[in-house]
């Protein structure tokens, strides 16, 4: 009997070990994508020959809830069209719940040469793509597009901040300063004036922790890079870190005059954190994404007197948002039709009306009454800052030097 007992013990110890090895190992290298997309990508592989069945394309993207809404709508519209040549599916990663991991997951899939991991198409800020390439450690992460298969590309008016052979921009978005014209009748127009305004109005300006949202991130990187050489703004070279001092000194200088609660300066978490402060009238000027401001004005949480502005000497950074086809996707060909749809007047209208996206085609071609709201935001004039992995270092330095000021 004892032998039997010990035998069973050994058995389930071994079992436990196996079970144990299975789970965490998978966690470390490639999370869900490996399992989930299997059924999703199964279709194109099996239905290669003439059958009329459409291939399934999985689109991956990451961002706030508004982006999830946008693609849910766009994909619904696309899949409902009889002329569409693919069936789209969405994999969405909510920012803040694992935002960093889309680039990570792709890097992991790329490094382990997985071609059926379901990363058929991604939608991402072009300024973030360098980070993906850095994480994967190879320029071959994205394939060159075959623009002959995207006829609507001829109507796209803007050039991307990333390699233009590999991406198709479908909307623009930018960080702006948002304020209430009733409370701030004459807003600052230059960074020097902004500095003065912040000092004259202690506690009425706030920006969010840069690592928790792009609005604060954009504000910090613009403040740090605005007086640096142009080539620095799109470089991931660590030599530029030496020139960050002036920007950080300025951030330190304005620190005591920022939003306070309970007697100490507070940087809210996430873009929504500063938006809430503006909505509750606790502050008067904040850096925020243009589309989030417009959405809040439309829903009435921000008053109609809310306005957006840029400072004359350096705009807060904006970006074109693009589609890119990873080289580890299963079916590059099938992606083109959806991309073509998204930059058609119809697709652009969905973007515009769902999240107030800045169109990439001539706004006159879009039949929508909200188009005037974004006319002031010209993608071609956006200030681009794309730091790749260096962006992480910038956030780390901010966490260490600015967040810790007593």
């Amino acid at each position: 009997m004892k032998r039997l007992l010990s035998l069973t013990m050994v058995l389930f110890l071994a079992l436990g070990l196996l079970a144990g090895c299975g789970t965490p190992a998978a966690e470390e290298t490639t999370p869900p994508p490996t399992e989930q997309p299997q059924q999703q990508t199964a279709a194109p592989v099996e239905t290669a020959p003439p059958v009329v069945e459409k291939p399934t394309v999985t689109l991956w993207t990451t961002g706030s809830q508004n982006l999830s809404d946008l693609f849910a709508k766009a994909i619904e519209a696309y899949n409902a069209r009889p002329e569409s040549t693919a069936v789209m599916e969405l994999q969405f990663i909510m920012s803040g719940t694992g935002e960093a991991t889309l680039s990570d997951r792709m890097a992991a899939a790329y490094k382990t040469s997985q071609t059926d991991a379901g990363f058929d198409l991604i939608a991402e800020n072009s300024t973030a793509l360098q980070g993906y390439v850095d994480a994967a450690g190879s320029d071959d992460l994205f394939v060159k597009m075959d623009f002959s298969k995207i006829p609507n590309y001829n109507n796209v008016l803007i050039k991307s901040a990333f390699d233009n052979e590999k991406v198709v921009p479908y909307r623009g978005t930018t960080v702006v300063f948002a304020y209430d014209t009733e409370r701030v009748p004459s807003p600052p127009t230059t960074w020097a004036e902004l500095t003065q305004w912040i000092k004259d109005h202690p506690g009425r300006f706030a920006y969010n922790v840069p690592s928790t949202g792009g609005a604060g991130g954009g504000f910090v990187s613009t403040a740090v890079y605005k007086d640096m050489p142009v080539e620095a703004k799109t470089s991931n070279d660590e030599k530029w870190m030496a020139e960050w001092t002036a920007g950080f000194n300025w951030l330190t200088e304005i620190h005591p005059y920022l939003y306070q609660s309970g007697g100490a300066v507070v940087y809210p978490n996430k873009n929504q954190g500063t938006l809430d402060l503006l909505i509750n009238k606790e502050v008067d000027i904040i850096p925020a994404w243009a589309d989030q401001i417009l959405t809040n004005v439309a829903s009435g949480t921000l008053p109609a007197t809310t306005a957006m502005m840029q400072l004359g000497d350096a705009s807060l950074n904006g970006t074109d948002v693009v589609f890119a086809i990873p080289s580890i996707g299963a079916n590059a060909e099938a992606c083109y039709d959806f991309i073509n749809f998204m930059i058609s007047p119809e697709g652009q209208k969905i973007c515009l009306e769902t999240i107030y996206a800045v169109p990439v085609i001539d706004p006159a071609a879009i039949d929508s009454d909200v188009v005037e709201k974004v006319l002031g935001l010209d993608v071609s004039k956006f200030s681009v800052i794309s730091l790749g992995d260096l962006g992480k270092k910038l956030n780390e330095k901010w966490d260490a030097e600015i967040a810790t000021i007593k």
Binding site: G16, G20, S261, G262, E282
Partner: protein, 283 residues
């Protein structure tokens, strides 16, 4: 009772097997894995650097110290409030005490996030309290969010009912006859408390303290939503190291440190439980 045969033994083993496999797979193995990882650098070579960093880096030390004192304050305040509340519930027999007795557990049934957002809506500087004060021409700013005061207040909201539940159970186990007989022989109220009630309930107070300590030392949601930017509690710091900086080895070391802190209170818990048995023997 029937004597156990090898069949019943096998049956028992089979019944326990799923739970054992599960706990080995999802608890024991990852814990070992974390422990091993915490002694490695990014390349996988052995190093003590992660621990050295945690106990020498200014920010990390600030965070550890901050976590400790916020947790300690939470434990002491929660127990103090809970003890007074339990005493009142045990020895007062009015309608109010019965009402409180049936209501005090309510906060346990409100989901964490809901409770935190509700609290934020009330106490934020532009929140409910502020707006009410504006009706009277003042602008009262509680200043409770984004600092340790806010975290401790929120922790108390969650932990007083929990601690009171444990302490109440212990107090209601003290028979009225004990208290009455002491009073009969002329013991003062205070001496009844210090010589009878407190000694009889101290064990459960200690147990409540260890539970409150353990659940708060690694808390995340509360400090993430209403804590300061710096210093931050270890749960938030861990998430930042893991998800933002992707510093997996340091995160592993940090997890081990949090685990060790928790085990200190686990030791206290075990020790108190063992002691109880001896105490019972004496009786």
């Amino acid at each position: 009772m029937q004597k156990r045969t090898w069949k019943t033994n096998l049956f028992i083993v089979l019944m326990l097997l799923p739970a054992l496999v599960l706990s080995l797979g999802i608890i024991a193995y990852p814990m070992l894995n974390t422990l091993v990882k915490s002694f490695r650098d990014a390349e996988g070579a052995f190093t003590l650097e992660n621990y050295r960093f945690l106990f020498t880096d200014k920010i990390a030390l600030d965070n550890i110290w901050f976590t400790f004192w916020v947790t300690a304050a939470t434990v002491l305040l929660a127990i103090a409030f809970a003890y007074v509340l339990s005493l009142y519930l045990r020895f007062s027999e009015g309608k109010i005490s019965r009402l409180i007795g049936s209501l005090y557990l309510l906060p346990r049934f409100v989901p964490t996030l809901v409770a935190i957002y509700a609290m934020m809506t009330v106490v934020r500087d532009s929140g409910f309290l502020n707006r009410v004060s504006q009706l009277f021409g003042a602008s009262f700013k509680p200043g409770l969010l984004f600092n340790p005061k806010g975290i401790i207040m929120m922790n108390l909201w969650f932990n007083i009912p929990f601690a009171a539940m444990i302490v109440s159970a212990s107090l209601s186990a003290i028979p009225n006859s004990v208290v009455e007989s002491a009073r009969d022989v002329g013991a003062h109220k205070l001496s009844v408390f210090f010589r009878m009630i407190l000694p009889l309930s101290i064990k459960d107070v200690l147990i409540a303290m260890t539970f409150v300590f353990m659940s708060n030392i690694s808390s995340f949601t509360t400090p993430y939503l209403i804590g300061p930017n710096h210093p931050m509690m270890l749960g938030v710091y861990l998430r930042r190291q893991f998800s933002t900086y992707m510093n997996y080895e340091l995160s592993a070391a940090l997890s081990v440190v949090i685990f060790l802190f928790s085990s200190v209170s686990a030791v206290v818990y075990l020790y108190t439980n063992l002691k109880q048995k001896e105490w019972e023997k004496v009786n």
